[in-house]
């Protein structure tokens, strides 16, 4: 085997850099790594956590006609909501409880019990909202009458426009005394 095919040629001067030249190269290497690293880290982190920081914009949804439910009797109104889920637009079934007052104004309650989020129903005989999960009971204005619910029923923003009931659907943290929007 001649020297040209040997992996490590024998002899020759070994170059070894020290001092300022070596430090210069080391500095450039570190700076390059830092520059590329940072230029990537910032966008990458933003890319990953952005959806966690985005707050959904509040939208008024047309739920039903105000003629659909009688005064003084709570009615569960089912409607279809369009939800923006990432790049997907899906339609989901939602429901709210609505109570029409004597003066025509409407109070809309979130359908979730403030204890742990179960769906409650209206007991016409006892004139109370009753939750089947742990026995919470609320009166017609949402106040807690009995059971483990820590706060009254959550009222959702609503308005009546041209005979239509519009609601902003919100979700609140269950099991706490204060109303905290999710």
């Amino acid at each position: 085997m001649t020297s040209s095919s040997q992996a490590h040629p024998p002899g020759g001067t070994s170059v070894s850099l020290d001092g300022t030249r070596r430090r210069f190269f080391q500095m450039v290497i570190k700076a390059s790594a830092g520059f590329i690293g940072l230029s990537l880290a910032v966008p990458f982190i933003g890319y990953l956590i952005a959806p966690a920081l985005k707050r959904r914009t509040q939208q008024w949804v047309d739920v039903a006609s105000t003629l659909e439910f009688p005064t003084g009797v709570p009615k569960q109104l089912d409607y279809v909501a369009t939800v923006q889920d990432g790049y997907l637009e899906t339609k989901t079934q939602k429901a709210v409880w609505a109570v029409k007052q004597a003066d025509g104004a409407v109070t809309v309650f979130s359908p979730m019990c403030t204890h742990l989020g179960c769906g409650y129903h209206w007991d016409g005989a006892g004139q109370q909202f009753k939750c089947p999960c742990h026995g919470s009971v609320f009166d017609i204005s949402g106040r807690v009458v009995a059971g483990p619910a820590p706060r009254p029923l959550d009222v959702l923003p609503s308005k009546v426009d041209n005979g239509r009931l519009l609601v902003v659907f919100k979700e609140f943290k269950s099991g706490v005394g204060r109303q905290i929007e999710l």
Partner: protein, 442 residues
């Protein structure tokens, strides 16, 4: 603080000796800027892997949602355009880097004994990169992606005996659809990265075992030996930063929007592959009929085999200097000239626009708007009441005649039933220019 952590790790993992092995690699002939391309390719691969990983956080590989998810990344995700941009331009960068790397290795004869295995693993890596490019192209599921893949897969069908079967395997069935997308995604994101990762490790292992080739001049190679760190690492780092900055610039300033959503029913769409496949796209245009399989698979197979086995086909086992390897250099030159000529022709055909004189174009619009085709015919279109105007520019080349004729046809053509057209001076000129442009092509 950092040094304390290092000492803690070192005493347990023997890092110092590992560092020495990795970084003290002696380079015959010393460090050089010409050796940066391998590291640049590795850097680009790592960047592709990283940006690719992040893209899968929001991308969905199903025909229903692929397009929308890419659009979502591009428009809604914070820095989504940036991650996608880096990945798109990084792919082109990688093809350029691997090309330059192969060119440098070939020029320096660094594939000759004892480095034959390095070269062969390298060719396999190159083919894997092409496979990455092909499978990745389908993922956005727009018209370009869909139809370019259709063409690519159909070319595989021309292979005798196994062609049809291979096509069905690639497609996942009879048609290009959901099964194609999901297997292309799996290959692009899982199978190919595993293979190329293994290939890179083997490629670098062989490099460490056999050592870098260094200059082709034996005396220069023997004269000095320099460790990889710090000077070669410094050169590699500078080039990596340069490449990175170029990619960031491209990602920010050169958009590449999605085409329309893939429509399998629209067979009129003409797809254009990425620039690094254009030379082949152009070649296919020249070879038709019974000779077509020659271009679709015979020639590529031959070229790939020659590339792969070159260290064994090259009879000169020891001499590395380019000046002493006329055959090798000539073949390489022929290959490069062919590829780049085809690329050039393709680009010219795609992007070179025929210049139309705006005045003539305006004149043509006037002709249409004024309803001249009601009485006159040009190349078969229009009425046969007035004279055929197909070669009016040859028949009546006098500009003034036309101006007078438009203003008052009867004054120059007695008995004519052509109405007067009240046109502005500019309109008269443009309409005349259009008339004069109607000539036989010489």
């Amino acid at each position: 603080m950092a040094s304390r952590i290092y000492e803690w790790l070192d005493s347990r993992l023997k890092l110092a000796s590992l560092e020495k092995t990795l970084l003290d690699e002696p380079i015959p002939g010393g460090a050089s800027w010409i050796y940066v391309f391998g590291s640049a390719t590795l850097f680009l691969f790592l960047l592709q892997a990283l940006t690719g990983m992040f893209l899968t956080v929001y991308y969905t590989p199903s025909p229903d949602h692929a397009y929308d998810s890419v659009q979502f990344i591009e428009q809604q995700v914070t820095f989504g355009w940036f991650v996608r941009g880096l990945h798109h331009w990084g792919a082109s960068g990688m093809v350029i880097a691997i090309g330059l790397h192969m060119l440098q290795v070939f020029l320096y004869g660094a594939f000759k004994p004892p480095r034959e295995m390095m070269w062969m693993v390298g060719v396999v890596l190159f083919l894997l990169v092409m496979a990455f490019a092909f499978t990745g192209y389908l993922l956005p599921w727009d018209q370009t992606a869909y139809w370019a893949t259709q063409v690519g897969i159909n070319m595989v069908g021309t292979v005798p005996l196994v062609g049809e079967f291979l096509v069905r395997v690639m497609r996942g069935g009879e048609t290009l659809g959901a099964l194609t997308l999901s297997r292309f995604f799996a290959v692009h994101v899982l199978f190919l990265p595993a293979l190329i990762g293994l290939g890179i490790v083997v490629h670098l292992f062989i490099l460490r075992r056999v050592g870098p080739a260094g200059p082709w001049d034996e005396r220069k190679a023997a004269a000095i030996r320099e460790p990889f760190y710090p000077r070669q690492v410094y050169m590699d780092a500078v080039v990596m930063v340069g490449v990175f900055v170029v990619l960031v610039f491209l990602a920010r300033f050169v958009p590449f929007p999605l085409a329309d959503k893939a429509n399998p029913a629209d067979t009129s769409f003409v797809p254009v592959p990425e620039w690094y496949f254009l030379f082949y796209y152009e070649l296919l245009k020249y070879i038709h009929g019974p000779l077509e399989p020659l271009a679709t698979w015979v020639l590529p197979a031959v070229v790939i085999l020659v590339m792969l086995l070159w260290p064994f086909l090259d009879r000169q086992k020891k001499v590395r200097a380019p000046a002493s390897r006329p055959v090798g250099m000539a073949l390489a030159a022929l290959f490069l000239v062919s590829v780049f000529s085809l690329l050039g022709i393709s680009l010219k055909n795609l992007y070179g626009m025929k210049r139309t004189d705006p005045n003539i174009a305006h004149g043509q619009t006037l002709y249409t708007n004024l309803g001249c085709a009601g009485c006159h015919r040009i190349h078969g279109n229009g009425g046969a009441i007035g004279p055929d105007l197909s070669y009016e520019g040859d028949a009546r080349p006098d500009r003034q005649w036309h101006i007078n004729h438009f203003r008052d046809p009867q004054s120059v053509s007695p008995g004519s039933i052509m109405p007067k057209f009240p046109l502005t001076e500019a309109e008269l000129q443009d309409l005349t220019s259009y008339m004069l442009s109607l000539k036989r092509i010489t």
